[in-house]
């Protein structure tokens, strides 16, 4: 670790922290041990941080807030936990049916998607939504996510609309299904969430060629979900959101 990196880490060391067990912080302290100037800077920094922190913490909540919180919460209808599970299951079932209908509708000879996916595929997609917390990476940067996907051998996502880069949060996941590699990128901006599946079919030149033939997105509405799918460079792209196809058209218009 160099001096600059150590200084950056030390600057983020909270004034009352008992967090010196953090390996990075420990390393930064080791750098500081041999650098008197850095040690003096850190002492001043901590002194300032401690003073500022102590003064801020002297602010107390105004009288009456606690009572207001308790009385307001008492008036709040608390949902029965099992009812929440039931709602979630129903929502997933609707989503599953929507996806199943979507894929069933496009299973003709002109459809790359119908030819590729088995009826179980939508349920796989849902299971990944369910396990969103287990996604490989959380990032505020699409380029970082794409590079991470590439490093893991996932399908390359070279042809994404520029507007995808305006999102503020990204999560990603790669998984394999028989001969397919699937990358899932979940993107969020404010309250809007988009889920992009990139599916790469290996060893089927005919299908690859047909995927190349569908550069114009096709839109399908299956409330509450909207889908767009297109094929390019041997890959199939499926974009899903809870909203309308207009939301998808808007975001894809910069493609």
């Amino acid at each position: 670790m160099n001096r600059d990196k150590a200084k950056a880490i030390l600057q983020c060391c909270p004034p009352n922290a008992g967090s010196r067990s953090d390996p990075e912080l420990r390393e930064a302290f080791e750098v500081m041990a041999g650098d008197k100037e850095l040690a003096a800077w850190f002492e001043r920094e901590q002194e300032f941080d401690l003073a500022f922190s102590t003064r801020l913490k002297s602010v107390s909540a105004p009288p009456g807030l606690r009572e207001d919180i308790l009385s307001a919460a008492a008036a709040t209808v608390t949902p029965v936990p099992w009812l929440g599970v039931l709602y979630a299951a129903a929502a997933m079932l609707v989503f599953a049916l929507g996806l199943a209908l979507f894929f069933a509708r496009h299973d003709g000879s002109d459809s790359m998607i119908g030819a590729q996916f088995s009826p179980e595929f939508p349920f796989e997609l849902i299971s990944y939504f369910e396990r969103e917390a287990e996604f490989d990476q959380l990032s505020g940067n699409l380029a970082e996510v794409r590079s991470n996907l590439k490093a893991q051998g996932g399908p390359e996502t070279e042809a994404l609309p520029a507007s995808f880069e305006d999102m503020t949060r990204y999560r990603c996941r790669i998984y394999k299904r028989e001969t397919q590699k699937v990358a899932l990128i979940c993107m969020q901006r404010d309250e809007q969430r988009m889920h992009l599946f990139v599916i790469e079919e290996k060893g089927s030149p005919a299908r690859t060629a047909r995927a190349d033939d569908r550069p114009v997105p096709r839109f399908t509405q299956r409330d509450p979900w909207a889908f767009a799918d297109w094929g390019r460079s041997g890959k199939t792209y499926v974009l899903a959101t809870q909203g309308s196809t207009d939301d998808l058209r808007l975001i894809l218009s910069s493609q």
Partner: protein
């Protein structure tokens, strides 16, 4: 109240007692106004009453509450948009300001809270968690759901903004070159009334 283990049930009143002061301070540091901080804190506990049962890992309660308050603040912020750029800040160029702890010790706590509230939102939020909750950059990254490297750079820039603001206020007491957020809102309202 000690941090509950994964499946331990949570008594609402104990939860409020354990966290309402710190959540209020966090809300106050974000909004800069006591009344708004009151609403944000209350709204956060309302959210818990509605949705808290769905939190599986009960050891994450504190993180859940701070994340929820932050989200409530973002909604509030969209309705009361207040954006300052670096150019708005007194002091001009981004030179290093060496404000010592003595300046802080002389200042009124609510004035310090106001200085914090006047910092750009991007930097203010991690800075508040850092000073009020002694959170490490990794803990802040978890609450705000952003990469820890981003938190580090935001903390660094936030501290720089804070020092500039304190330095300026200390050098020219009573002569803040930029109107406070409250006064600025009053000016906007007056302008609107004159139309």
């Amino acid at each position: 109240m000690s941090a509950p283990t994964n499946n331990e049930s949570i008594n609402f009143e104990e939860l409020v007692d354990a966290h309402y002061n710190s959540l209020f301070r966090f809300a106050y540091s974000l909004s800069g106004k006591e009344a708004d901080a009151w609403d944000l804190t209350q709204q956060t506990f309302n959210r818990w009453a509605e949705k808290g049962h769905s939190l599986r890992d009960k050891s994450k309660v504190k993180s859940w509450l701070f994340t929820t308050l932050y989200r409530e603040f973002l909604k509030w912020s969209r309705q009361n948009r207040k954006v300052y750029s670096m150019e708005d800040l007194p002091g001009g160029a981004a030179e290093q300001h060496s404000v010592g702890s003595e300046v802080v010790n002389q200042a009124d706590a609510s004035a310090l809270m106001q200085h914090l509230a006047d910092i750009e939102e991007t930097y203010r939020v991690p800075l508040s968690l850092f000073y009020l909750e002694d959170m490490t950059y990794k803990e802040i990254a978890e609450v705000l759901e952003i990469p820890s490297g981003t938190v580090m750079s935001r903390l660094s820039r936030g501290k720089d903004q804070l020092r500039r603001r304190l330095s300026s206020a200390h050098e020219s007491p009573g002569e803040d070159k930029r109107p406070s957020s409250r006064n600025r809102r009053k000016q906007i309202v007056r302008r609107d009334e004159q139309r």
